[in-house]
Amino acid sequence: MSNILTLEKGKTLSETLAPVSRMDLIKYSGASGDFNPIHTVDEEAKKTGLPGIIAHGMWTMGNLAKLFTPYYEEGFIKDYRIRFSGMVFIDDVITLVATVTTEEEQEIAFEVKAVNQAGKAVLKGDVTFVKTNG
């Protein structure tokens, strides 16, 4: 397994998710307690002018954080900031990307984003991972 402490500027962590399914959003609604029906019921989404249900922004933001999960023995996410810039629909294929922007003794800063199959960023932001080993 690669070690986050050796990541240098410009290196990336990345993962492409399975196509977004209605069940993904039903599960997230239940786990998070966010039952806004625009995420699960087509009719409700259409009433608000959407073509169909959309993912919770927090579902995508939650997924993106998993790029850092294998590294909790070395430190933790101190700051995680996201700006939502696009909607995620059923069957979209989302790729999560984190790129090292600065690496210091105590902290590594990443630019993070989630991109859809058309190459559009649906959210963007940054992560500061603080090292707690050595």
Partner: protein, 149 residues
């Protein structure tokens, strides 16, 4: 209309980082890593127990601010930020409260857009900060007008 509520705070609400909820939450974001869900793995980890994913505080109850009246529909989640002093530990109690941090308006494509910043603080039993969560909600002019009718 929201500038009057800037600085208003809720009371503190005691929450427990529940093991079952952490597991379900981790699974729902496609991240069922043993650091979150495997009890033995957690014990052997540097934290001595399992931890919760960074976006987990969304499940916490964080008190209510009576003066803050939001429209039921049409809100847009613009930005979301988490700050941690340390990860949340499974099984611990967290005391969460809410503050209306800011409200401002900017001219946008759909008229005057309102930006409402609401911050939730999570503290340990001694009042020491564990995490801070900020959500910036966009309230369009149309949504604000529909509400004041």
């Amino acid at each position: 209309m929201y500038t009057d509520v800037i600085g208003k705070v809720s009371g503190k609400v005691k929450n427990t980082v529940e093991r079952g909820l952490v597991k379900r939450f981790a699974q729902s974001i496609g991240d069922p890593h043993p650091i979150f869900i495997d009890e033995e793995y957690g014990k052997r980890s540097k934290y001595g127990t399992n931890i919760a994913p960074p976006t987990f505080p969304r499940v916490f109850e964080s008190g209510t601010i009576e003066e803050l009246q939001l429209p039921k529909k049409g809100l847009i989640h613009g930005e979301q930020r988490f700050h941690y002093e340390r990860p949340l530990l499974v099984g611990e109690d967290v005391y969460v409260w809410t503050e209306v941090k800011d409200y401002y308006e900017k001219k946008g494509n759909n008229g005057l857009m309102g930006f409402l910043s609401v911050v939730k603080y999570g503290e340990d039993k001694d009042g020491k900060l564990i995490f801070k969560e900020e959500a910036i909600t966009i309230i369009t002019e149309a949504v604000r007008k529909a509400m004041s009718v």
